[in-house]
Amino acid sequence: MNAAATSLSNPPIERTIAHTLTIYLKEAKYEFLKNLRLRVYTASVISFPLMFYVLFGLVLNSKETIGSTSVPTYLIATYGTFGVMGASLFGTASGLAADRGLGWLQVKRASPMPPFAYFVAKVILSMIFSTIVVTLLFILGFTFGGVRMPLPEIARLLGTLVAGSLPFSALGLAIGYFAGPQSAPGVINLIYLPMSFCSGLWVPYMFLPKVVRQIALALPPYHLSQLALGVVGAGNHDPAATHWEVLLAFTLICLGLARIGFQRDQGKLYG
């Protein structure tokens, strides 16, 4: 009886660090390839911020300035934030909700893959797509908008925006655990679009109505955009630490909610 119980129990799998790392990298690679082949995801996530940037930053206001910063430079920071948000939310929430709905998570659970690898792959995917969006914005700005920035500033702006994909990936995980596969895109749009507008990503913060400006101060995209604008010298001069504090708190709240959703699913499946 004891021998049977031992053979049926679930012994912990012993792996070397290199082996574990390989699993994480492979999961991230195939998650990336899966999303790259989803034309709707790739086209919408990449083309929306670029389209807005071309229209408002290059065609309509390329010679204007906001404060002492040219509009094409200013809008790289704000549409960069917009692009990062979209890549992270759609990459994590839609994928997770669909995988839950199709039962794909149960198949993954039955494999010897560490459960954490799935979530890490989603976050890495968001970061890769965020990097692509911001890089394309830079290319457009440099080529057609007359944007000039020293290399360290470009690296800082890219690093800030890509690091800023973490809070939105966490929000995506929370949405993915509580929304169904059909309703997830709707829920994302319901959060993503108003949040972007109210945070001053479409219309610069100082041109927003007073009520919206007050709401913006509580929204994570506002804080990420202020960090990005701070790099190009167009921020509101609040301490960067305060913005990071908001983003960290928001990330942990979303991860906490995602954990509750995860436990709820586990409870439903395995009792």
Binding site: R213, Q214, L217, A218, N236, D238, P239, A241, T242, W244, E245, V246, L248, A249, F250, L252, I253, L255, G256, L257, R259, I260, Q263
Partner: protein, 65 residues
């Protein structure tokens, strides 16, 4: 205590709660989520008060003209 050391303290506390929630499980979320909400609201309120001060200065300057 200045803003930077206050922020560092709060960040360390939040990260500690995060790690405890990761390894300790759901009961720690009862500490993590309210603490993170308080930090979020406090930091937003700090930004709001700075904005109010700046707006008041701009208003006084425009009235002075």
């Amino acid at each position: 205590m200045n803003t930077t050391s206050e922020t560092l303290g709060v960040t360390a506390l939040l990260l500690l709660f995060g790690i405890l929630a990761l390894y300790g499980g759901v009961p720690w979320l009862a500490w993590l989520i309210p603490a993170a909400i308080v930090v979020w609201l406090t930091a937003s309120a700090r930004c709001q008060s700075r904005r109010d001060i700046i707006d008041a200065r701009v208003h006084n300057r425009s009235v002075g003209r």
